[in-house]
């Protein structure tokens, strides 16, 4: 069964008191839980949060399924998100995404066999003047070439 760490649970309790309404704590709490659940939100996580937050599971599921940053299936240790919106496309964003998936021998949205990577194509990340770009977990990498992107990914522990 999924359970937050003592520290994680404390954080959720703090979020519940932080805003004008308790429900505003749903998004931050889902982020806290996702981080402790290897990067994704399972049904179990939703029910667990519902219990500890005393908010109906349907309300939590509504939020978890609406926003793209909540992963509803397992992702690799490194989630590689390549922007394929217009400014990146004009600078080879789609070719970059295809190159990365090919080099990592995976399809978009699938986890590599060793569980290290998931490669996704995503919409505009606000890095349009420094295109093309990818986001690896929390970090932006900009002005990429297929080679520089692969060097970054190969250099990850």
């Amino acid at each position: 069964m999924f359970q937050l760490s003592t520290e994680g649970l404390e954080k959720v309790k703090k979020e519940l008191k932080r805003y004008e309404t308790r429900e505003s704590a749903i998004i931050p709490s889902l982020f806290i839980a996702q981080e402790e659940n290897k990067g994704w939100i399972s049904e179990e996580v939703i029910h667990y949060l519902s219990n500890v937050m005393d908010i109906p599971a349907s309300r939590i599921a509504e939020v978890a399924t609406f926003y793209t940053m909540f992963n509803l299936k397992p992702v690799g240790k490194y989630h590689v998100q390549v922007c394929t919106n217009i400014s990146c496309c004009l600078n080879g964003g789609r070719e970059l995404a295809a190159h990365i998936a090919k080099e990592l021998k995976t399809d978009f949205g699938q986890m590599t066999e060793d569980g290290r990577f998931t490669v996704s194509k995503v919409e505009c990340l606000g890095s349009c003047s420094t295109a093309p770009m990818m986001q690896v977990n929390d970090t932006y990498h900009e002005n990429l070439t297929p080679e520089s992107a692969m060097n970054i990914l190969r250099g990850l522990k």
Partner: protein, 429 residues
Amino acid sequence: METKLLTEHYEKDEFRGLDGYKKNGGYEVLKKALKMQPQQIIDEVKASGLRGRGGAGFSTGTKWGFLPKNGEPRYLLCNADEGEPGTCKDRVMMERAPHQLIEGMIISGFAIGSHKGYIYIRGEYFYPRRVLEQAVKEAYAAGLLGKNILGSGFDFDLDVYSGAGAYICGEETALISSLEGKKGQPKLKPPFPAVQGYLRKPTIVNNVETLAAVVPIIRDGAAAYKKFGTEKSPGTKLFSLSGNVVKPGNYEIPLGTPLKDLIFKIGGGMKPGRKLKACIPGGSSAPVLTAEEVEKANLDYESIASLGSMLGSGAVIVIDDSQCMVDLLGVLMHFYSHESCGQCTPCREGTGWLNKIVHSILTGRGRLQDIDLLIKVADNMKGRTICALSDAAALPVLSFVSKFRDEFEYYVREGRSKVKGTSYAEMHH
């Protein structure tokens, strides 16, 4: 040509921290503002002609004026959910000058009588969020936020709230829904947020750049601000220049600057051997301009509107003659069908169909009548929904198809791109 009212000190690393910000004149304007009457500040902002920098271009002073004139609690929300494709200016503003935004928010909060503000920042902006959170902490420690700010008797609390990935949350009522812990779905207007917004309380939602611009306006006065820009579009604005241009970047220039100057003089023009083909002047939702129209366009709200497009967020996306317009419309339609919140039928179904039709053309299954079908579907989506996302998807379709119809027809007939000579499958298998 660049005119740095907001971005003057952006190159200095110290400007990100409180000490460095103060060293460069930071929070002096707040001291001045706290000695003014709130109504004086509102009048000054109104007189400056400042228009919302997030996309709609609505008069900021007028928006503030919609608040009820009683003591009812009210909220000030900063829209930092920058998501309009092509736009990356707010990110730079938050990374380089977090205190400028905070100072602008305290002054604005004082002006409208709000004691609580939130900065709603898109979830992907981890780094700018960390910078902002650090700055908010510094501001509290220095007595610039919280109770009795600088001994003025004015209280203002500020917190940073992270979104979680949804373009629609940049729409102000969707942002409010999201901050309330719900799906980010827009709400019917009226009531407008100024009357009934966050938690059904009067609420003002302003873009990052709008709130930051309050600082130089109060510092120098409305008359000084109006020396820049045009009569109806006063001041400076940050433009995010991207696409097929030699020097992409964020540039602060006076409104009314010729578009071709931004592209060619500041942006260095096209790569060698390439020619300008088209330009989207205000983020992906703005109708595309042809190279001939670019010649006539100035970067102010009126000039761009007179050409049938929008200045929007100031995201200038440059397209050179190596690009296939059918292919690019496919990129945009995928985006809008992905981002429709699903609430209104014309948008939910329409964006899906537009995406399918463009991709059926791209994959060689298109028929000539599909080109008119695109126009018909887009026409049916305009003005029939709660928010502007539906129009934002329809407008690019109408402009791409009407201005580059030959490329669409060629693609249908030949099953490949007129420009690239190859098919979609060959371009991106």
